[in-house]
Amino acid sequence: MNMHAQPQRTLAETALIDAFGERLSLLPGDGAVMTKRDDAIEAIKHGLPTRRIESWHYTDLRRLLTKVPAFEAGAVGKALAPVLEGSAVLPVLNGVSNAKLPEIEGVTVQRLSEKLTDGSIAPGLDRYGDDDAIGALNTAFVADGYFVDIADGTELEKPIELQNLQAGGQSHVRLLTRVGGGAKAIVVERQTGEGDEALVSSVSQLVVGDGAEVTWLIVQEQPDTATHLAQFKAHIGKDAKLTLFVMNAGGKLVRQEVVVRTTGEGADFKLRGINLLAGDTHTDTTMVLDHAVPHTTSTEVMRNVVTGKARGVFQGRINVHQYAQKTNAKMACNTLLLSDDGEFSTKPELEIFADDVVCGHGATVTEIDHNHLFYLMARGIDEKSARGLLVKAFVAEVIEELDDEALVEALEVRLDGWFSTHG
């Protein structure tokens, strides 16, 4: 990596570095945590990544992040009704986690500020590479969030919903979750907000224990004034399963990174994602998946809809390590580009060091199939409705694949919500 020393700091870079000096005394953490924070701000001092940094090729953060709002947020909102009915809600309001923690059987919940103060999570604050700008930003400023531990063998009856709500300003949140061996859980990570310009960084770290099964939903519906820089990092143990569903339907400048590693044989990872892009926005989904041990499987399906002047990016890299024989990995990224002012860039990468593997990827960019449109219109459906139906069917396909009915219904509601305002 070559984070070039930048000739002159941008306004945003200066604002971040100054803010760090001002906030330092307010940030929780023992010596080890504070050292990590210092390292992280050093990385930012070298400059935010530009398009010359390969992993940021399509999202030139240095150029795109023009303004950094102050920390002061608007009125503190209230926790929202959960996406899935009956979920236990853990809200983070304007970067601060709730004082009152819910009691869930088999689950230990702690405020992240406590874990920072006692330094027990310091090792987890490492960046995953020189180009990990979101990790650096978050490590430097993270003040709160949650630590959720689901005990071995616990099968959660109700989902857990982690809400990160921001009313303008700046916040940096971390959500750590450990799912014990043989446990089962559904977790919703809700990223939304309202009001003025906001800069949000949010890092989720998940460890899926041996034989555990986790379904994790990221529902990102930021207002179009927000910059949302998020990271989801997971390790999947032996015979464990992780299904990650990412829905991006908001935000002005969004980067959602997904960094996953299979650490035990028999691990299985599924990524299903939909990007609904409108307006003059920029949304980047970047995945790095490491098949680090033999006999692991993964499938990734992304469906993107681009309207207006939106720019979309999907980068997906599958690394198959040298001894990760019998890996089976498949990735698909399909895009409907519906406007001449829109843009979509895809970079699906395979890096393979083992020979006994089956890996493949496919990517398409196209507009609506005229034959399909004709078929519907021949049945008396007007063009606008016919288009709407086809676009919705295109994305709904990935949702319907989820085997939990409540999940499918809840996501279809979100989908309808987006189409009613943008369709």
């Binding site: 699906p348 493949g360 496919g362 507009e367």
Partner: protein, 506 residues
């Protein structure tokens, strides 16, 4: 895969023994001192009797090059190159521009004979029928060009030693000569087109090439002419510590057609040698250029010592409407390959094609692919890439397809498949797709796998030994690309792939 040790042993055996072009020839050479400076560039330019404008062009490129940094984004690793430790000019002494073949140093002719390159056009032209002995027959069998008539430009280190069939081509109006000759004889054409596809400021190696290029081929096919035969250039690096920096410029005017072949070899040496070429193709309205390469530079020995660093910039410009440029490459040689033959689809309804087979074995590193840049309306492109990695090699496909806002109905299909043989090698795929137009239609698919046991079993069950079975499957794997090669090259390519992979099967 089991039997790793066995694989390693066999690979080692092969790499040392099987590069049959590894000989070197003792020919008295005229060399520039080592290093790169303005003086060296003046020296090269004066050696070539170049006009002042050419020297200025070179110097400008050099001044720019000094300010550039070597690119590091490719997936290749090598010790830093000392650009001052290379001879930038080396020419066989006894060739002050031979008028005919009889004036060419016989040693030199022997080299090309050994390589199987037919320079003796007279015999073919005169229709001389030789009585062929069985031994000769076998030898001719190796000479893949025997079937058709191919005009050849032979480039030895820094200079073009001979160009065949010139007169016959001239009758058709086709200019085929060395680029040095073109600079002297056809300055108006060179001035107009040189650097118009790959500008001197393009990238580190292209800029360096612009400053120091020594020879290469020049082809001009005038309006409406279909070039009567295949054109071919054969590159040979012989001298120690030299780099080869050739420059090829091919222009097809309105409605013209030309098919051009390129082949290359080098002696076995322990040091790495540098090859940094630039190829520019220009197709005007309704013109078609087909460019085929069989690249077989010395790949280094079993320990990865020596071999050619092949840093090449190749680009075609479909400047006219309905024009077409097609790249076909078979890459089996070089220690490091860094090469992305590209098409700029500027004219409406123009089309670009890229067919590639990249075979890597031993410690070879390949980072190759293409760029299809759709600018005009209704442009289409097709990419078929087959990578085969064996031994300890790393084989990367890197390609970009982009549609400009105004490129209505741009269409691309990309297919890149990789085959891994052995568990010490790597195959990587890095495609970039950028659509800025709603009517663009891009499709990309890629797969990586090893030869399945089922396939192998099926073939072996019919009594075919394992090694042959694998060769058969591999040949099936690359068939789509081989079919695109001119017939003479297809035979050579198939053999080369066989040789490159032999023994890599554990």
């Amino acid at each position: 895969m089991p039997a790793v040790q066995e694989t390693i042993d066999r690979v080692r055996k092969i790499d040392v023994d099987q590069y049959k072009y590894g000989f070197q020839t003792e020919i008295e050479m005229d060399k520039a001192p080592k290093g790169l400076s303005e003086d060296i560039i003046r020296f090269i330019s004066s050696k070539k009797d170049e006009p002042d404008w050419m020297l200025e062009w070179r110097l400008e490129a050099y001044r720019r090059w000094v300010t550039l940094e070597e690119p590091t984004w490719a997936r290749v690793h090598y010790p830093k190159i000392n650009f001052q430790d290379i001879h930038y000019y080396a020419a066989p002494k006894s060739t002050p521009g031979p008028k005919s073949l009889s004036e060419v140093d016989p040693e030199l002719l022997k080299v090309y004979e050994k390589l199987g390159i037919p320079l003796k056009e007279q015999e073919i032209l005169a229709g001389v029928q030789k009585t062929v002995t069985a031994d000769e027959e076998a030898e001719i069998g190796d000479n893949v060009y025997k079937s058709g008539r191919v005009a050849v430009d032979a480039v030895f280190d820094s200079v073009s030693v001979v160009t065949t069939f010139k007169e016959e081509l001239a009758k058709a109006g086709v200019i085929f000569c060395s680029i040095s000759e073109a600079i002297r004889e056809h300055p108006e054409l060179v001035k107009k087109y040189l650097g118009s596809v790959v500008p001197t400021s393009d990238n580190f190696y292209a800029t360096m090439n612009s400053a120091v290029f020594t020879d290469g081929s020049f082809v001009f096919v005038p309006k409406g002419v279909r070039c009567p035969m295949e054109l071919s250039t054969y590159f040979r690096i012989n001298e120690k510590n030299t780099g080869q920096f050739e420059r090829t410029l091919i222009i097809a005017e309105e409605g013209a057609y030309v098919s051009y072949l390129e082949g290359c070899t080098a002696p076995q040496r322990d040091e790495n040698q540098l090859h940094a070429a630039v190829v520019e193709l220009i197709a005007l309205d309704d013109a078609e250029i087909k460019y085929s390469t069989v690249q077989n530079w010395y790949p280094g020995d079993a320990e990865g010592k020596g071999g050619i660093y092949n840093f090449v910039t190749k680009r075609g410009d479909c400047r006219g409407d309905r024009s077409k440029i097609s790249w076909t490459q078979v890459e089996t040689g070089s220690a490091i390959t860094w090469k992305y033959p590209s098409c700029i689809l500027r004219g409406d309804d123009s089309s670009g094609e890229f067919y590639s087979i990249a075979v890597s074995n031993g410690y070879q590193q390949v980072d190759s692919g293409t760029k299809m840049i759709h600018l005009g309306k209704n442009t289409s492109s097709r990419i078929i890439s087959k990578g085969i990695a064996a031994g300890f090699s790393q084989n990367t496909y890197r390609g970009q397809v982009s549609a400009h806002r105004k490129a209505a109905n741009a269409r691309n299909f990309t297919n890149c498949d990789s085959l891994l043989i052995g568990d010490q090698c790597g195959a990587h795929t890095v495609p970039y797709m950028e659509a800025k137009n709603a009517t663009a239609k891009f499709e990309h698919e890629a797969t990586t796998s090893k030869i399945s046991e089922d396939q192998k079993f099926y073939v072996m069950q019919r009594g075919i030994p394992e090694e042959e079975a694998i060769a058969l499957i591999v040949n099936g794997f690359v068939k789509d690309v081989i079919q695109q090669l001119p017939m003479e090259f297809a035979v050579e390519a198939q053999k080369l792939i066989g040789i490159s992979l032999e023994g890599s099967v554990g």
